[in-house]
Symmetry: C2
Subunit: 338 residues, 2 copies
């Protein structure tokens, strides 16, 4: 592959001049520029980013790490990040941690080695071990969606308590009293907060908490939603509604119900957080609390950019956006309440 030296020699100028042309510096005579440009093209020159990054000490790219690349909540969030980053000519590089702390650690290490300019992460490892390593290297860091205690940095999320409360109130208003919770692990902040908001509403309405109705799995996935629902159905609990911790869990829930011959919402109502994907734009089904995924990503990128500009020394900002309840076709009054 051609280097800047090859180009310089062929064009009969110094490498500095070539560099100036490549980087669009103004102080080059127009004829020289045109000539160099043509040689550049002729030789199919492609700059070596490793060399450039090394001397510049900047890579012009930020890294993004999300737990589940197949979940539209996260892909939408990433798109928000990309759009903001592209406004400033920054590339974004994406990693999928698969809800596994070990993968998260590996990715973080790779990112550190490559000296990316910053990291936006929806964390998996909730005790902050992985993120401490990031901060130790002074890599500008923004956390999105899931809070991690002990890590003091910019944070963007939505109001999970409020969202859970909206969902719970909606179900109560429909007449439900026995509501099950199918949730991800309580170590992850959003599931903890949603469970808390939910129980708070039950308490406020003097509805006794039945522990056997609250099921927590290791991951917020379809698979787990399915398994937990099977377990719920096998128990002698008799919920008239199910509150799923997120969109993926909700799909698992509905599949398990379908398989058991239980109709939604006729026999049981189902609600959840977040939309499922573009198909739901066409055939919206779930009554759910929609978080502003795109905006969370967009704002996270904005905070990171600000941090990059100020050389890192900004006070940590916490941004909590408002979610919104969208009532659709997966909820109805309980059959027995009539």
């Amino acid at each position: 592959m051609a280097t800047i030296y090859d180009v310089a020699k062929r064009a009969g100028v110094s490498i500095t001049t070539v560099s100036r042309v490549i980087n669009n510096y103004p102080n080059v005579k127009e004829t020289t520029r045109q000539h160099v440009l043509s040689v550049l093209k002729e030789m199919s020159y492609i700059p070596n980013a490793n060399a450039g990054n090394l001397v510049r000490k900047l890579t012009s790219t930020i890294a993004v790490l999300v737990p589940d690349i197949t979940n539209s909540f996260f892909t939408t969030l990433v798109r928000g990040i990309e759009d903001k980053a592209n406004e400033r000519e920054l590339s974004v590089i994406l990693g999928n941690t698969d809800e596994e702390a070990a993968k998260e650690k590996l990715y973080i290490n790779k990112f550190l080695e490559r000296r990316f300019d910053g990291l936006i992460i929806v964390p998996v490892e909730s005790r902050g071990k992985n993120l401490k390593a990031v901060q130790k290297q002074n890599l500008p860091l923004v956390i999105a969606d899931r809070d991690v205690e002990g890590i003091n940095t910019d944070f963007v999320s939505s109001d999970n308590w409020l969202g859970a409360q909206l969902l719970a109130q909606h179900l109560l208003e429909l007449g439900h009293r026995d509501i099950a919770l199918i949730s991800g692990p309580l170590e992850i902040s959003v599931f903890r907060e949603r469970a808390q908001g939910f129980k708070m509403v039950l308490n406020d309405n003097n509805i006794s908490i039945q522990d056997e109705l609250f099921l927590y799995g290791p991951k917020p996935s379809k698979q787990v939603g399915y398994e937990l629902t099977r377990k719920l159905l096998a128990s002698d609990a008799t919920p008239t509604a199910i509150f799923a911790g997120n969109n993926s869990l909700a799909i698992g829930v509905v599949l398990a119900l379908q398989q058991a011959g239980i109709k939604v919402p006729r026999d049981i109502s189902v609600t959840c957080f977040d939309d499922n994907d573009s198909s739901s734009t066409l055939d919206p089904f779930f009554t759910s609390v929609i978080q502003p995924a795109y905006m969370i990503g967009y704002m996270a990128a904005e905070l990171l950019l600000k941090r990059l500009k100020n050389n890192g020394d900004t006070n940590p900002t916490r941004l909590i956006l408002k979610p919104e309840l969208i009532t659709r076709h997966s909820t109805a009054s309980p059959a027995s309440s009539s």
Copy 2:
């Protein structure tokens, strides 16, 4: 961030020795090694990959480009690549082209600049313009799934003609004669081949081809599947079955049918290529031709690795794997055939 010089100074050795320890070279006295190791840890040293890549002229990472990161066919394929790559300690970096040639071009450029060791791509731009640029730089290249004429390199896919024929035969055996095709663009090899295989079977069975039953959209997406199906329903064609070009299109097809009050498979049968996602493991619905997505990725990585080892000078290999017809619940005999 600590450099190798900082570590060397603190440890009282030369940078060469530090480098040897970092890279696990054998010729270092054990006590020296231990000492350097402890200093490395103490200083939280993280090697600068840009510097390393620059001198090594290798990055130990391969790039992967797929058209739709939300489609489980591609995520499964990518997992196959990752597994094979990880066997050889290679990282993989993933890009999502969103079925857009322009994005593909941007990604390819970034990858070239970063001097990755190789590229595995499911191409979008079907005239080979983007890939020519790759070959001009001598970047080891493997094409997966979609063929691109004019680009002579390793290629792994599955037998799309055969798959389409299996699907068509299945429908014919059920008694269908008026079968619609909802497809992605013919510029993309797999859709071209599937359409050909399908029509071939119709011809072989003396079924006249009704052009109004064949609809091609710009992208193989849910959205497009939905829109084409609406168009089909609005026309005066009366198919008893629909052959969707891939899994995403199929979802759009079913949504449009649902919305029109048409039941699958009672009123109309639907088949497609590929599975939809993990949810279909729980509740398999579509009768479809399943391509060995994981194996396609795995073999693609294997070919790339071979090419890397042999310094690029291997003869191009073409690997066409067998797909499999899985009969499930979206197909039945036409109502009118009774």
